[in-house]
Subunit: 356 residues, 5 copies
Amino acid sequence: MTLFGKRYHPPGTPPGTTQVGDGSVASALSVTVADYDAQNLTLHRNVTLDACRPFITTEEHTWIHIDGQPTQSLINYLTDTLELHPLAVEDVINTGQRAKVERFDDTLFAVLSYPVKNDGKIQLIQFSLFLGGDFLVSIGEHSGALVEPLMRRLQDTKSRLRSRGCDYLFYLIVDWLIDQAFPTLEALGAQLEELEVRILDNPGKDTIADLHFVKRELITLRRCLWPQRELINDLMREEFFFKDETRVYLRDTYDHIIQSLDMLETYRDLSASLLDIYLSSLSVKMNEIMRVLTVISTLFIPLTFIAGVYGMNFDTRKSPWNMPELEWAYGYPAFWGLILLTVTGLLVFFRRKRWF
Amino acid sequence: MTLFGKRYHPPGTPPGTTQVGDGSVASALSVTVADYDAQNLTLHRNVTLDACRPFITTEEHTWIHIDGQPTQSLINYLTDTLELHPLAVEDVINTGQRAKVERFDDTLFAVLSYPVKNDGKIQLIQFSLFLGGDFLVSIGEHSGALVEPLMRRLQDTKSRLRSRGCDYLFYLIVDWLIDQAFPTLEALGAQLEELEVRILDNPGKDTIADLHFVKRELITLRRCLWPQRELINDLMREEFFFKDETRVYLRDTYDHIIQSLDMLETYRDLSASLLDIYLSSLSVKMNEIMRVLTVISTLFIPLTFIAGVYGMNFDTRKSPWNMPELEWAYGYPAFWGLILLTVTGLLVFFRRKRWF
Amino acid sequence: MTLFGKRYHPPGTPPGTTQVGDGSVASALSVTVADYDAQNLTLHRNVTLDACRPFITTEEHTWIHIDGQPTQSLINYLTDTLELHPLAVEDVINTGQRAKVERFDDTLFAVLSYPVKNDGKIQLIQFSLFLGGDFLVSIGEHSGALVEPLMRRLQDTKSRLRSRGCDYLFYLIVDWLIDQAFPTLEALGAQLEELEVRILDNPGKDTIADLHFVKRELITLRRCLWPQRELINDLMREEFFFKDETRVYLRDTYDHIIQSLDMLETYRDLSASLLDIYLSSLSVKMNEIMRVLTVISTLFIPLTFIAGVYGMNFDTRKSPWNMPELEWAYGYPAFWGLILLTVTGLLVFFRRKRWF
Amino acid sequence: MTLFGKRYHPPGTPPGTTQVGDGSVASALSVTVADYDAQNLTLHRNVTLDACRPFITTEEHTWIHIDGQPTQSLINYLTDTLELHPLAVEDVINTGQRAKVERFDDTLFAVLSYPVKNDGKIQLIQFSLFLGGDFLVSIGEHSGALVEPLMRRLQDTKSRLRSRGCDYLFYLIVDWLIDQAFPTLEALGAQLEELEVRILDNPGKDTIADLHFVKRELITLRRCLWPQRELINDLMREEFFFKDETRVYLRDTYDHIIQSLDMLETYRDLSASLLDIYLSSLSVKMNEIMRVLTVISTLFIPLTFIAGVYGMNFDTRKSPWNMPELEWAYGYPAFWGLILLTVTGLLVFFRRKRWF
Amino acid sequence: MTLFGKRYHPPGTPPGTTQVGDGSVASALSVTVADYDAQNLTLHRNVTLDACRPFITTEEHTWIHIDGQPTQSLINYLTDTLELHPLAVEDVINTGQRAKVERFDDTLFAVLSYPVKNDGKIQLIQFSLFLGGDFLVSIGEHSGALVEPLMRRLQDTKSRLRSRGCDYLFYLIVDWLIDQAFPTLEALGAQLEELEVRILDNPGKDTIADLHFVKRELITLRRCLWPQRELINDLMREEFFFKDETRVYLRDTYDHIIQSLDMLETYRDLSASLLDIYLSSLSVKMNEIMRVLTVISTLFIPLTFIAGVYGMNFDTRKSPWNMPELEWAYGYPAFWGLILLTVTGLLVFFRRKRWF
């Protein structure tokens, strides 16, 4: 995944162009269709797109879920058979969309993305939803974990899901997508705590890189979550598509997204604070290293000089001025006395500077 | 307590699921019920949940306080007997909620948290309130310090509390929860002042860690206080649940929360400024250490070289060019003269650079 | 003064508790009362609180000014005789209030604070005002500099103050309190300029502490000024208490507070920039010190080695391979030649690196 | 291109002065005119300005595109023949305008700029648009890549462009200009990723300069994109000039600009984080260098002193106190023993400090 | 000029005090009066204030321009003869005002300041304007560059200025004042670019001071420009004083101020980024210096020790254990072999660490 995780048509392409970039993408689509009301349920897995058509016109609620990378035939189907707006369908193809909700006449189009851990990195996967009066079309990849439990609940005649309309199903999907932020944040929180311990204890060379990766994840997640807040806010005001009882649930979802964002901002603050201690711990360590170097150097450099002096070869026989110390009976002990004096003086100086 | 201090149902759980995570949590609940008006007071401690039921239907104001971790039977009681909304009850179980207020038909649901010092760390404890026309249900842990004084005041027939409705009781509890921020902030302020003295005087190795912990506390407290500001603001506009005379008091609470936030932001600014002086004091110290090292080294290294020169063994007998200085009568005094000259020159240089 | 400069009742104290913390505070209050209109003036200094009572019911405007720490009797007087709201009176006792204005029926309550230099530190002193239809009660400490000139102006029958109502007097006091920010800011500006010169010229060890104290003062002042902006804004919309002609003057005060805040933010930006140059000047100085150390060390360390080599005692008589240089006729000059070469080479290297 | 990329008339020039700065700018203008409706199309390339005049009064939609630097005659033509407002025409000349839209009676004036890579640097090129009821005048340099595809689409009778009015053409141009941000951002994203790898792996001397240039590009791009957001927002509310069906498309363009800004802010955050790791990696490297220096120095400096001691020439014949060690049978092995002891001691010390 | 560039009356001075601080300021005022409409023009230079009086009551538009420091007589004239509001006149004296516009009954009062380069520093000069129905009073110092061209245009009967009212003249002056920001910003932009080159190439000791001064200028300019944005915004909504055709021009001025602010914020961002590279370039340089020191030191310090060992005087005659190496035939070549080995080993180590 590159940093610029957005697909786009080259500038100048006519708006609403619904051409799949590369014709060779022919990964099989997996289409599931459910036609239900409180009494009846018809459920078909792995049908063709054309087989879904008749269900839409029935009086029951119809949910068509399409899993896989959008193909040209899917795109044609969406624009031609389901008569969805080309601008919305274009957004389904050009993944990397910002979460948003748009209303086209009697269809509501919402696009969201949710974070998935992939190779230890957070990746955003796009999910598109078209909500009409009594149908819902959902398009997304790797969506088994979301769809299967819902299908099971559909089969349970006593579940609330059966007795309510497509707007409730729409809510359940959006709620699932938004709640994905919680485990992701929980994992990032654990990483931050582990980093905190490492930085306070004994920061290594790769600590800062690890901190950077957590920050990068937070930035990615932030780009995903902020627009979702707006999205839910917009949904809560869509009185046309959502019944009052469903909007109570959307308020709950709004609450969840606010909590996620709260947590996110807290983590950002914390990671900034961790960087500060990391940098200062480097400085502290440097100071300590330099202190040792300075103490040892300034202790021994003068001593080495004194020893060097008495290693000189001035000819003591030429004059009494030439290094008479060498001839003294107690010259050597005197030398050690001088050394001791120097060392003591320097140690007193260092102690006064509180260097050890 | 981990950084991610929120409990949540796994994504995909049906909304309003009121299942307590672990069935084994069977800590005994302590239920207190008070049925009162200006004239009468019935007060029962440690009753069963079922025993509270008849009081709600009486004409007097009823306060049911439940202390302890929510059990499955409590949850059932709340949803079934008291007919509280499942989404609200779900928030009671999933602690770590953001402070918020929500209106479900004729019940007002508020959830707050307040800071408690635990092992020197600030911990947030959740408190939930359900306010109806003439009843109040409050749920929270370790709430003795809040509830006992209120109970005593209830027993005093002349107290304002008796003559007013449940909305006033609701206000008193919220006010208590919010005022908890004051002693916490006072303690943090004292810590910051002590850190300021340490950093300006003689910062040690753990100073930065201590500063980081204060910052972390401030971040935690901030996450607790900001949503409470909104909450009080919302309450002040709830004309249905609060009488005008109670709303005057809520304005006072709003004032308190604003003052707490003010203080909090001041502390954040201060801790940022303290980090700046800490870092610069490290640099200053380093500069001083390096200056000493440099002065001593650059003084003695040339001297050692000169002494080294006259310790060489070039054979003076081979030619008059070979170290004639060693043969001079005043060679040794001349050496000391050279040393003196070098030292003086270097000292002048250092003085001009203002290094000592 | 501690960082947490707020007095508060312990959480759980009934709202509107007007109990002075410590009963021993019995510093004598100094009460002044002025009863005036355009024609008449009655002025009494150092009266008792009870003596003020009759003036309030007169048709003239009444100004009661109370100087000193609030005592229990004052508090009782305010709540009982003047019938001021207990919540407002509570705020008079609990000093350290955020500036705010509140309306209680037909009384306007405003609390402000103004900066005073004390021991070189800025201290905030609280001032409370109660404005009724034709009376004004003001409570504050050390307020001689404010009150005396106003009293003198009151005695001047031609002054605007006499011909206008209590709202104009209220405005004059608020204006004085807010204008106190100007001299304080002027002093801080001078300090910042002096710090700028010091930092650019020759920053010492205590420069950063001084800068920190200026920043701390700015933080304190900011906490004082921002709420005052809101306060004046609120006052400007109080059509009930202020006549149109007075509100023109309040607009002028609003202008002053905006200018103070402008200045304050400018100073904050500047002090941030000063910190940056301070830190970089430390780095520049360090670089210079290290450059000198490196130049001297790398010059002399190789030389010392060479001198050391020729100080070795390998026995030249054992073989012609053992230090034949020592026996050369020109060995010593050759040594100096080698030294010169090394030094020249290193100097060229340093020059190319622009190190001196 | 200089940092201040704005042309302006000297202060005091009468407003609406439409004087081209330098009369010598006589680069040939390339004028293209298209007169079209669903049935008919008249297309002329490289016509004179005067030749365009009759098309405007026709019933068909007229698009006049002018490519090149504005000349005096063009300016006169715009103000006199087309009767466009002088203030708007002044903005066409004074390039470096902030994107904006202004309404002059029955003409809408919009000015935008789009980023173009020039010599590896981002340069902003201004594009001006005048939209009337049935005409569109567009002025811009190097606009072949935009205009040619549109001309081709105009020649296609089945294209949406033919069947819709000038507002749709206006939208297509604005959409193209705004979509130019995508490839630019994609390139900057790639640069940032490459920088991230370099900084985490082995940052060189010019890494920081490269990072600075990316930041500078982001600043430039930001200055270009933010006002465009406002511009599109304004256009979406222009019900007079844009039909409902065109405004649906503008909503899509708004979405694109929001996505660009989102990306931009993400990149800014990332580049700030990269700077942090760069700076800390410098510190880490420094620490490592200093550690090696300190370990080697503190190991060998004491050793050199000891060796120096036994190189002294105190006369052992004068007294038994003078360096008796030199006369010992095992003096030399004892010396090495001492050395070994010292080295071991220091290594233990370093290991305890975790320095290697 | 000091940092606190504001004149103010001491707190407690009655509002609207129009007393010029120091009576000795008697710099001659230069008063110019122009009485004009489309047909007639009366222009008098250097008249007395009293001579202007009759013109105001004429039916023609009257412009009185006063150049110089306000004297007491001017102040009296403004308040008494022209009957301008004392609060506004007070602001004329107390220079250093924040740009603002205020409406006093039928007079509009505006005060602005514009940047002037003085001794290489930006200084703000205040300009005050009183706009009535058919008169304009303008007061400012050193205003020749503004007033003279306007006077010349007034004398041109065909100029738009003559045919329009005082509101247009007012706009022209405000536009001139605001456009002064462009050349100032252009100069600062050039300074920043020059600093960028210096910092990237070879930053010196005064680079950071120069950057600080640019930042300080930006801060000053910012304090001047931000309130002007509000001011123009306010003017645009003053339908009473400005005709619709003039308000179109004010919109253009608003555009200019927005562009200035845009530029300003860009410069602030850039100067922050420049500081970052400056600081990191210091670190890079330090690293390089330390690397050289470390390489040279760690190379030669061990060598010096080895040379020191063989300079010791252990008596080889006492035992075969005492420095037998000195007696070896190839002792000296072996010494050099050891040296070579050590050097090679260290160089390999440094190369592996990529230190040279």
